[in-house]
């Protein structure tokens, strides 16, 4: 009963979010174009830097010689991870500005249902865009990707998901405290982008930044996914184990941080409280 009630609420939030998203029609177009620009840029940067499509130095560092495939996989993880981070944070901020957060939070629906419902549409869109991009990249840019290894990579993405959800929850909790959350969100997104390993291997970063990147759930997900795509699960056991631990740790951390933040917000009367 409780599960079906919560599922109904999840669908309700997702439907509301979809309708609101559709009312801003240009967002749909810009989201769709974003993937093409990213892949196009990745291809041009790769060719511009090395003079050719395949790079020996990238292959030495990561096992991938095709920078486009490397970047497409990285972008997939980054887009997925940022959906939780930005999605959770903006679902609080947008509803605060609109004045509707109070009504949603006064309902019996669980907070995680509210957050996941708000990003469900974006996740579905990400999946849809991927279904459009990948075949197009295969045709346009001669992207070579095999289905079975790619599906194994998606399993790694699922393993990293609790950690990315946790970080999104922690960020949403912090946002409750900020008078103007816009700059915080921008900095956070830039930081995640720089440390995600989406565009370049994190091994080229200075050591402190490498540690920081490994301490967040994005780069371990990206690197393990890439490893699994080229050498299967058996070739990435240590990466999978590390990702499982860090993902679980962030899930707990995020849950506790958000719970604490909301309790504090209720106590001191922040924003909509």
């Amino acid at each position: 009963m409780a599960v079906t009630e919560e599922l109904g609420a999840l669908i309700g939030v997702a439907r509301k979010s979809w309708k609101v998203f559709l009312s801003y029609k240009l967002w749909f177009v810009s989201d769709l174009l974003m993937g093409f620009f990213f892949a196009g840029n990745a291809l041009l940067i790769g060719i511009g830097l090395t003079g050719k499509r395949h790079s020996e130095s990238l292959a030495q560092l990561t096992g991938y010689s095709d920078y486009l495939l490397f970047a497409v996989l990285g972008f997939m993880v980054l887009g997925f991870g940022l959906t939780f981070l930005s999605g959770f944070v903006w679902s609080v901020v947008d509803e605060l500005y609109a004045g509707t957060l109070e009504y949603s939070f006064a309902s019996p629906m669980r907070r995680i249902t509210f957050f996941l419902g708000n990003v469900l549409v974006r996740l579905a869109l990400n999946g849809l865009f991927l279904l459009i991009y990948v075949p197009l990249f295969v045709v346009l840019f001669d992207l070579r990707i095999e289905v079975v290894p790619f599906l194994k990579g998606l399993a790694v993405l699922l393993l990293g998901t609790p950690g990315m959800v946790g970080l999104g929850l922690a960020a949403a909790g912090i946002v409750l405290y900020l008078r103007d959350p816009g700059p915080f969100i921008s900095i956070l997104e830039m930081l995640v982008f720089a440390l995600s390993g989406a565009m370049y291997p994190i091994s080229i970063l200075p050591k402190p930044l490498q540690w920081l990147a490994k301490a967040l759930p994005y780069a371990p997900t990206t690197e393990t996914l890439r490893k699994v795509v080229i050498s299967g699960f058996s070739g990435a056991v240590s990466g999978i184990a590390y990702l499982a631990v860090i993902s679980l740790a962030y899930a707990f951390f995020g849950y506790l941080t958000y719970k604490w933040s909301e309790k504090q917000a209720r106590k001191i009367g922040l924003k909509s409280y």
């Binding site: 609420a9 949603s104 509210f114």
Partner: protein, 324 residues
Amino acid sequence: MMPTIKVKDLRKSYPKRIPLPFRRVEWVEALKGISFKVRKGELFGLLGPNGAGKTTTIKILTTLLEPSGGSAKVLGYDVVSQAREVRRRINLVAEGERTLYWRLSAYENLRYFSNIYYVPKDEAEKRIRELLQLVGLWERRNDLVMGFSRGMKQRLAIAKALINDPEVLFLDEPTLGLDVQSALFVREFVERLVKEKRKTVLLTTHHMAEAERLCDRIAIIDHGRIIALNTPENLKRLVSEGETVEIRVRNLRPEKVKEVDGRLAVSEEDPTRGTLLRGNLDEEDLPRVVEGLIRAGAKVLSVERVEPTLEDVFIKLTGRALRD
């Protein structure tokens, strides 16, 4: 019988700034230990000026805020430790018009709220139709809320507040900013809810006539304290009949009023009709007060004995009018 709402020594303090480590923060007491009980099927009013603590009380009772001290129970559930149980059984109409999704239609708004209040699908469809018909918005169900007037938005907010068929309804200034016709609709609707559906309603207002007309009992709240609690009739008995006087004057600065007589308060300021003073004065004092007003430079336009209202009770208890 267990009260539907039970509030005991409820306190709430807000920090003036966000508390951070190593930052000294001053706290402001918004509620200073209020206590009251609301019975099932009662329409209970919290009447007080802006900043008295009415909205804070509603936010605590609807689980949006945690109290700093004391306790509050709704339908026997503690608003802090059993918040979700409380939320399932209540609903609210919050102050202000930006509480609904303006980019959704009236129907889509109610459908969303039926989902997050766990109303089963078949039941929800039936209820949405009934509620939209009840508030006169069925014909406009597919129109976006952004195109609605303030009154229509408030009617939709009330329909939203009934979507889970709540046992207790909290209404925070439900007629604030509405035109006369819409305010009348809301008042009649709330009256019917209590009489016909036996809902328990807690309503906040700073509109005395509204409180007097609608509420079975009223708690007058000022500076975070309940200063009187009774039926409207009994509250008005605090002011003896024949004592209430309305004096309309011109050319008198409001700050001069208290200098003339502390029992007088400014009830209304109208640039064309002058300033209306109200107070509870004995027969013998009246000529002296009028003289005092004239000496203070006022032109006295009229002096009239009137029936006491809740505003006179507030003036008698606090020395101020509700608008101050």
